[in-house]
């Protein structure tokens, strides 16, 4: 028997153990925490660009969660694929960078050294480049500045 509880004031978490119906193909959730996601964000953006854009265009058509399940699965599989590849090829640099982010309030500018190592490895092994869309043309991107104003206390 269930009764209505206001989710805002409920003392119990909003849990629903009912599994997804069988007619929807299963996809393993990414299960990556925020720091590794932030570390991999630009590579996910570069590697899964088509799937991501497809999904967002689909969401633009209709906000119903049911409408874009297929595109969503593709997005998740692509991200899964990228994270696996990253772990296979650049595990050491990846771990170093996201651990640094974890310790530094998840600020990119505090972790430029490990980031450069990761970017280099990702370019060499997987051919992925970090680019910030909309950055001013003809200037060094902020993640490649040699002598930035904003740095950690210890460089």
């Amino acid at each position: 028997m269930s009764s209505y509880h206001d989710p805002q004031t409920s003392d119990r978490p909003y849990k629903d153990p009912t599994p997804l119906s069988g007619d929807v193909p299963h996809v393993k959730e990414l299960g990556v925490t925020s720091a590794p996601l932030k570390s991999a964000a630009f590579f996910i953006g570069a590697y899964c660009k088509d799937y991501n854009e497809d999904f967002m265009l689909c969401k633009n058509e209709n906000r119903d969660p049911e409408h874009c399940l297929k595109e969503g699965r593709r997005v998740t599989r692509c991200a899964q694929d990228l994270i696996t590849k990253m772990r296979e090829n650049c595990l050491k640099d990846f771990d170093k960078h996201w651990n640094c982010l974890e310790l530094n309030n998840q600020e990119y500018y505090m972790c430029r050294k490990p980031e450069r190592a990761l970017n280099k490895c990702m370019f060499e092994k997987l051919g992925l480049v970090k680019t910030i869309p909309g950055a001013p043309e003809g200037q060094t991107p902020v993640h490649e500045l040699k002598n930035p104003v904003y740095t950690g206390v210890q460089k």
Partner: protein, 147 residues
Amino acid sequence: MEYRQLRLRYTLSGLEGIVASTSMTVQYRQDMPPAGGFEAVKYKRNLPFRGPSGLVILGGVTAVCAYGFYRLGKGNLEKRELEREKTWSRIHLVPLLLAEGDRDAYRREQAAIAREKEIMKDVKGWEAGKSVYNNPKYRPADSIVVL
């Protein structure tokens, strides 16, 4: 009283001495400047060094301030780019997180509809999960049932 008398006596005796010396031929020496002449009179102010001049200090302060403002301007431009970087890192993750959230929302919705169907199975003509609005646009559920 005694003191005045004493003074008078001494002056008188001194006068006698002068009178006595004029009457004799005494060898005397003209007082002359020292050899090489007197040294120059020190009339110029001779103050110790009081630090750099006002102009130098003013120039220094101006230079420091100018450098500071230059760095500030550079920092502002850089901060804008850092903000752009942060924003785009989040934008790149939106589809991923949204897809995961959608899958979960869909699962809960289906479960809620199944529950509703089960509860309302005896009511004829009841459509489980039907919106109360005559609008095909999707609306998330207004309320949830916490099990």
